[in-house]
């Protein structure tokens, strides 16, 4: 292997793949039963980049040659950049050798589209097949579905991959048409439906026949670029909610647009990445998935944008002060989860501990609950806030306690058009 050439290829093809934010390697329980190589479990972040993101998988493109011209993408065909391509064997060797050194949990393989969708997708599936069959590889494999790929090849992919994903890219069809004229939303929704159906059928079959090979055990995910187009958080979160409810998506990723082009359809180079907004969207996403919130409680017609200065849970609490204070000694677990400053772990701890003894503020503090935040919303025995606080006062008081880590790059949602 020519060291310089392979290093150059890796730098080009990793660089082009990094805007796909998914790094998850959990949700699949592949055991190493054949005395081969690898296991999957809860997912491990083996490193963190200097921007603080988890490095769990070897995330690369097979090639950055692409026949499409999506304005937001660095690999678009009109972009004057260096192009490169790995061979199938090179990807296999890199994966195995990185894995054996405990650098990674597995492979996330995607590609620019060359020749046509099926031809491209077949190469990706071949990599996964080689890893699984020739190398007895039981590590994690995430395959990106190429928009427009046929049902047959998608179904084959699911036999080797732990996760399949296809990016919806833009929150609305209008934006997609504007920025990615070669792509149609239906080419993304169709594969999602195929995967969803195949997973359901596979799980049913597995109940009857234990040795049925498992199809995409870690399910499917998708991603949308945010901040490149004028959609509100309302539109984004409703779309995400639809994916969770109707497509059984495991994850929806929100990728704050990193300006990479002088195209006048997009924010100019130098515009800050909307990192705060991205963070708020993830918080809202967590509220829907783990905290029992319905999407309409987080955003609605009157509040289509998430607050940038406070998190969506606090924001909801301030709009719904009539629900509080909640008595931590008697309230239902689901209600305790809704208290700002109390997370899933702590809510469980409270519910477990109160069986033994009445819980007071001192107990909560010791458990690690942020009392400064929670105290406006809870009651513990005869301990509670006596003053009748107004929402704006609570917000002010909480904000004055700590400087937000994001303060320097606050970029609120300024309407672009």
């Amino acid at each position: 292997m020519n060291t310089d050439r392979i290093t150059e290829k890796l730098s080009i093809l990793a660089d082009a793949a990094k805007y796909d934010v998914s790094c998850s390697s959990s949700g699949s329980k592949r055991k190493n039963l054949n005395k081969g190589l690898g296991t999957t479990g809860n997912g491990i972040c083996h490193a963190y980049t200097e921007d603080g993101r988890c490095v769990s998988l070897l995330k690369i493109l097979l090639t950055n040659v692409c026949i499409f011209d999506c304005a937001y993408c660095v690999s678009r065909k009109s972009n004057d950049i260096k192009r490169a391509a790995f061979t199938v064997q090179e990807v296999v060797d890199l994966t195995i050798n990185f894995y054996r050194r405990n650098y990674i949990e597995g492979l996330f393989i995607s590609s620019g589209i060359f020749t046509n969708a099926d031809y491209t997708m077949e190469r990706l599936v071949l990599i996964a097949k080689k890893l699984r069959t020739e190398h007895k590889f039981n590590g994690y494999i995430h395959i990106k579905t190429i928009p427009g790929a046929s049902e047959e090849i998608i179904k084959e992919a699911g036999l080797y991959a732990d996760r399949l994903s296809i990016n919806v890219e833009m929150p609305t069809e209008k934006s997609l048409a504007l920025l990615a004229p070669d792509k149609k939303r239906i080419d993304m929704i169709e594969p999602m439906k195929i995967v969803k159906q195949a997973i359901i059928e596979n799980r049913e079959e597995k109940k009857l026949f234990k040795n049925t090979p498992i199809f995409a055990p870690a399910g499917q995910s998708t991603q949308m670029v945010i901040g490149a187009t004028p959609e509100t958080d309302l539109e984004i979160l409703y779309l995400a909610n639809g994916f969770y409810k109707k497509m059984n998506m495991r994850r929806v990723y929100y990728s704050g647009y990193v300006p990479i082009s002088n195209d006048n359809r997009l924010p100019a180079i130098g515009t800050p990445v909307p990192m705060v907004r991205e963070n708020r969207l993830y918080q809202a996403d967590w509220l829907m998935r783990f905290y029992g919130f319905e999407v309409h409680e987080i955003v609605d017609k009157n509040n289509p944008l998430l607050d940038m200065d406070i998190d969506p849970k606090l924001s909801w609490a301030l709009r719904n002060l009539q629900v509080f204070p909640i008595d931590v000694n008697i309230a239902d677990y689901k209600l305790i989860l809704r208290v700002p400053g109390i997370g899933v772990q702590n809510a469980k701890k409270i519910v477990a501990a109160r069986k033994y003894t009445a819980i007071g503020f001192a107990h909560l503090k010791k458990m690690g609950i942020s009392i400064n935040r929670a105290r406006y919303f809870i009651k513990a025995g005869n301990e509670y806030e006596i003053k009748d606080w107004q929402p704006s006062e609570i917000k002010h008081s909480i904000l004055s306690e700590g400087a937000s880590k994001y303060k320097p790059n606050f970029s609120s949602q300024i309407p672009l058009f």
Binding site: M1, T3, I6, T7, L10, S11, A14, D15, A17, K18, Y19, K31, N32, K35, G36, L37, G38, T39, I44, C45, H46, A47, Y48, T49, E50, D51, G52, R53, C54, V55, L58, K59, L94, N97, F98, R100, R101, N102, Y103, K136, G256, V258, P259, P272, V273, M275, K349, A352, A353, K355, Y356, T357, I359, H363, K366, M367, K405
Partner: protein, 253 residues
């Protein structure tokens, strides 16, 4: 207060618990370290490690604790924190004296402490599963050096054995001066007295497989390429990868 001295092992610790009950030591101070016994502890008790006694305590505890609770106790032991045995003893005494399970009573300071310390150890275990970096030697051994905050080798053994079932590997803890070695069949504890400095690359020259350097170069390149400069966030980076681990991480060295 009476000093109870045991041999510092997990097995020995339970013999100590047994003897505290056996000799009705009312106010014990358990220590696994050889300490200079001052005049305050003229009446120190030396524990005789005995598998039968240990087995009896463990069996009793298994009835009182859930598997999770028992594993929390083990993790807490591996923290090696000063005087942690006394927290563990009070926790055990509370568990044995109570009819119902006590392990979720986080309002009790010892239960909470045990939960918190075991979680710290668990986090370190998880970190080591992430931060081990194997280097391939000429005789096909995947070799890694770590310097964990707690004694986590016993906890990570299974993970590495399951995952790397088809390669020989060795993980060495430089602080506690022992390692775990997998020979394609089983994992065993090994103590090697390295007479060279693990950080000194030159002392390793010549022992690595010829491809080792290539993959280290590629990994460093990959690590650099996936970073998005426009999103730089050093604070978050360091929070996730504390500097004390850097010297054994290929990509940060």
């Amino acid at each position: 207060m009476q000093l109870v001295l045991y041999d510092g092992t997990w097995i020995g610790f339970f013999s100590a618990i047994f003897e505290i009950y056996e000799y009705k030591i009312a106010d014990p101070l358990i220590s696994g370290r050889e300490v200079e016994i001052g005049s305050i502890f003229s009446n120190s008790h030396k524990v005789h490690t005995d598998e039968t006694k240990t087995r009896r305590v463990i069996n009793k505890l298994r009835q009182k604790l859930s598997p999770v609770g028992f594993s929390q106790l083990y993790k807490t032991f591996l923290s090696e924190e000063k005087e942690i045995e006394n927290v563990m003893f009070r926790f055990i005494r509370y568990a044995l004296s109570s009819k119902n399970s006590i392990e979720n009573n986080y309002a009790d300071p010892d239960v909470l402490m045990l939960q918190q310390v075991s979680r710290k150890v668990h986090r370190e275990k998880h970190r080591m599963e992430a931060f081990v970096r194997f280097q391939l030697t000429k005789d096909q051994l995947y070799y890694a050096v770590i310097q964990p905050d707690y004694n986590v080798l016993p906890l990570i053994m299974k993970h590495f054995k399951d995952r790397y079932a088809d390669q020989r590997w060795l993980i060495y803890d430089v602080i506690r001066k022992y390692g775990i070695y997998y020979d394609l069949h089983k994992v065993s504890e090994v103590s090697i007295d390295f007479n060279f400095d693990c950080n000194d690359e030159s002392s390793f020259a010549g022992i690595y497989n010829e491809e080792e350097n290539l993959y280290q170069v590629l990994w460093k390149q990959y690590f650099k390429s996936v970073n998005i400069e426009a999103r730089k966030n050093t604070r978050l980076h360091i929070q996730h990868m504390p500097k004390r681990y850097w010297k054994y991480l290929v990509e940060k060295k």
